[in-house]
Structures are given as structure tokens and as C-alpha cells.
């Protein structure tokens, strides 16, 4: 069963080449994800703090953090006293 399932992707791999752009995007995403999760490992952070810590532009940090929230790696922390900026934290920290 398992061998049969793997086969269909293998068939397409023979016919279709994955573009360098797609490969590069995945590499970059994994790099950015690692940077963000490492930074969050140090404690809760706002988007601005994460951007400063990782060197990733703020809007991209926002996109990545929201995606990581969506896919269960990150959760929402608390909002500051002015109700302006939320912090974000690693999901596993929440469970501990």
C-alpha cells in the first residue's frame, strides 16, 4: 500500500521539474521559520521585537508569524497596556 502511494509522486518527479524558485522559497521559509522560533524560544515577543531580533522585515515577520499561528507552531500571548501590540509565544511553551 505504502509503496503504491509513493509511486504517484515518483511518476510526476520523472515528468516534471521543480523550479529553482520553489526550492529557494522553501529554503528561505525554513530559514525564517527557524529564526522566528529560535527568537520565540527566548520568550514572548511582539512582531517588532521579532523583526529586530531576526532581521526579517516587519511585514514579512507578521506574515510568517500569522502563518505559524495558523499551522500551530505559535500562539498569541498578551496585549500591551495600550492595547496596541500583541506578543506571540511558542505553542509548546503554552503546553508546559
Amino acid at each position: 500500500m505504502s509503496t503504491e502511494k509513493i509511486m504517484t509522486v515518483k511518476i510526476l518527479r520523472d515528468r516534471r521539474k521543480v523550479s529553482d524558485e520553489v526550492k529557494e522559497n522553501l529554503k528561505q521559509f525554513n530559514k525564517d521559520k527557524k529564526s522566528i522560533l529560535t527568537e520565540l524560544g527566548l520568550g514572548e515577543r511582539t512582531i517588532a521585537q521579532l523583526s529586530t531580533g531576526t532581521g526579517i522585515p516587519r511585514d514579512k515577520t507578521m506574515f510568517l508569524v500569522m502563518s505559524l499561528v495558523k499551522f500551530g507552531f505559535v500562539s498569541v500571548g498578551s496585549v500591551d497596556d495600550n492595547d496596541e501590540y500583541f506578543t506571540y509565544k511558542l505553542k509548546k511553551n503554552e503546553q508546559n
Binding site: T8, R16, V22, A48, F63, M66, S67, K70
Partner: protein
Amino acid sequence: MQKEPTTLSFDALVIGGGIAGGEAALNLASNGYKVIIIEKRLSLGGKMIMLSKVFPTLDCSACITTPKVSEISRHPNITIFTESDLTSVEKRGEHDFVAKVTRRPRYVVAEDCTACQLCEEACPVIVKDQFQYNLVGRKAAYIPFSIASPKVAAIDIENCTLCGACEKVCPPGCIDFTQEPRDYVITAKTAIVATGFKLYDPSNVPRYNYGEAKNVITSMQMERLLAPTRPFHTILRSSDGKVPDKIAYVLCAGSRDDSLGNPICSQICCMYSIKQAQLLMGALPMADITIYYIDIRAYGKGYEEFYEQAAGMGVRFVKGKIGRISEKENGNLTLRYEDLASGKLKEADHDLVVLSVGVKPNSEPAGLFTTHKLELDSLQFVKQSDPLLSPAKTTIEGVFVAGTATGPKDIPDSILSAGSASTEAICYLNQ
């Protein structure tokens, strides 16, 4: 490998699976006619399924659309082709239409998919989620959105790394990378065009700074921010995660302006902006919301009261034409506008600007009909041959039009128009 196209026969061909196409199909099917819906995207529901709430009742849009879409999907007389391209429609004679359709591969066996989302979890790729108007990411193996119909996974092959992770984890083994486009020849006795509208692209107007200034967004992006299935956990600026507290709406962004190629009123922007302003006041009670308008057109039943309700809630209405939106260093925005009450040029600062983008025609259906000409009007909407007495008739006998394909309409009017198109189609079928 498919050698010959598959031939299928129906009473009616409905082009477009939005709310108007769906309603027209449902009416025909409920009267015993066999209907096929051809939908370009992965899900039925069109733009309505993406909305937060509807005006002026503030009913949940998904709560209205989902049961309707589910009824369409389950109807025994309706066949649905999603992710499909209609390439041509030929009229060979009265009650004799032949359409050529290509179904793009989903790389998932739809009948076997349980929408468990394990493929999505396993997929390592993240790309911009077009269903959330690029505000958040989605995987290359993905369910389009939580209330999609059919709720079936799809593989975005353009962004897939062919790692095979989705195929490994799929419990029913329904991922199939060997799928190929399939061609169909569909015969039908009548056709309904329900191809909807396009949203105005504000990046065509440099003075709005859309695409450059990160905190200038479109009303459709705000719809997503307000929806229960929103991309963020609350209303936030996509530039830096700040909760906005001074929000501006710019009405007629891409409407009522001949120089932008869209001289007409889009009919829905005033009301959806007022709706969003009310929802924002509920979500962010401390926020200041200003609507910059030329005229407020509240023409429907309960619309004027809805406008007054917004004003009573504290939404500020400024009669002013926006000249330029410029971005400050902190991401806030300065709106330069002509205050129409005083005739003076003024400036105001906001931390989020929503462009209430207008309705643009979708002229694609005109190119589909090969033997007869489906005429468009001067604005490139589908021309109604008898707009006063038979508004669903087009310039081709036996081809009818529903919804916003003929021009801007709100949801109730789109559904009414679908009723009209299906009735005309039934009359034609009985001739």
C-alpha cells in the same frame, strides 16, 4: 492518458458557481432539469462565501451561503465541475449548445478525500493564501478554506516540491500525482452566464499608494479580517501587527471615475463600507472610524436606516475627495483630501486606510461563444437584449444571464436576477 473527450448531456449549462449561478442552477434542478455548473475555482460560493456579514441585516454571510452551497452540491439533478475551464460554447441550433470544458487536475481523488487536513499538516511549503487575500500563508497541499464546497484538498502543483509528504500521510490514499487535465464535450439545451464581476485593482491608481504603503488595504482584505475564518486572531495591521485605532475608508476607489475606466457607481461600496465600519466598532470599540465619501447611496430597503445607525454609533462621515495617500515613517498614513463642505484642502492622519474598491466587468464570457456573438454593453458587462421587460435575456436566444455579469448588484438583487434567468431558461426549455 485520455484519448477522446468525455461527452455528457444536460438540460442546462450554468457558467459560474457563485451565488447567482448556484441559485439559477438550484431553481432549474428543483424543476426537474439536469444542470451542470462549470466553476473556475476550487469551490462554489463565489465572492459571497468570502464575506464576513451581509448588509443591512448583519447576518453571517457564511451561515447563509454554506447551507445554500450544500443544497446545490447535494442536489441529484446538479453536476458540479470545479477547477474547470470552459473554452468554448457553440450554438448549433435552438436547444442545442455544445460546450468544451477542461477539468484541471486537483491531484486528489475528490470522492475519497475526507478533508482530514493531514496532507496540509505534512506539507512543508508555505505560499500566500489567495483566499485570505495574501494576508497569511497556506500550504501547497491545502483545503481552499474551511467552508469550501466541495471540502476537498488540492495540490498547488506550481508551488509543490514533489516531496511526497502529503501522499505518505493521506489515510485513504487519495493523493494522486498522476492526474491529468480531462477534456469534456457537454451538450445542453440552454445556458446561463453567471460569471460575476471583478474587483477594481487599486494599484492602477498610484496616488492611493496601494501595494507600496503597507497599511493601505482593500475592502475585501478587511472583509477577511472581520470574518469568523479570519487570517489573524483579531483586527491587526499587516505591516507590524498593531491594533489599528484610527481607520479611514475611501469610498469610490475605482468607481465613478471615467479617468480610471469605470464611470459608474458600483452600488455596493457605500453599504459594505458602512457595514464594515459597524463591525469594526464592535471589534475595536475605542477606534475612530472615518468614511470619506462623495455621496452616500443608500437606496435599498433599510439601507438609509443602516447608514444612520452607523452615524449614531459614532462613525464619522466626511464629504471629501481623496487626492493622495502618503505613508509616514511609522507606517501611519496621511490623507490629503478636498473637504467638499468647506471647499478647502485638508490633511488627516490614520493608521489604517481601507480602499472601498468598486465593481469591474468580467468580459470573459463574450469570448466563449463561437458561433453567435454574446454582446457586451459599453461598459463591458454582458448586454441585456431587453433590460426592462426581460432583463435575463442576452443577445443569443437561449443564453440567459444572472447576477453581476450584467452590472453591479447587491446580493438580494443578484439572487433575484438568478431567479429571473432560471425562469426565462425554463420558458425557453419548454418552447
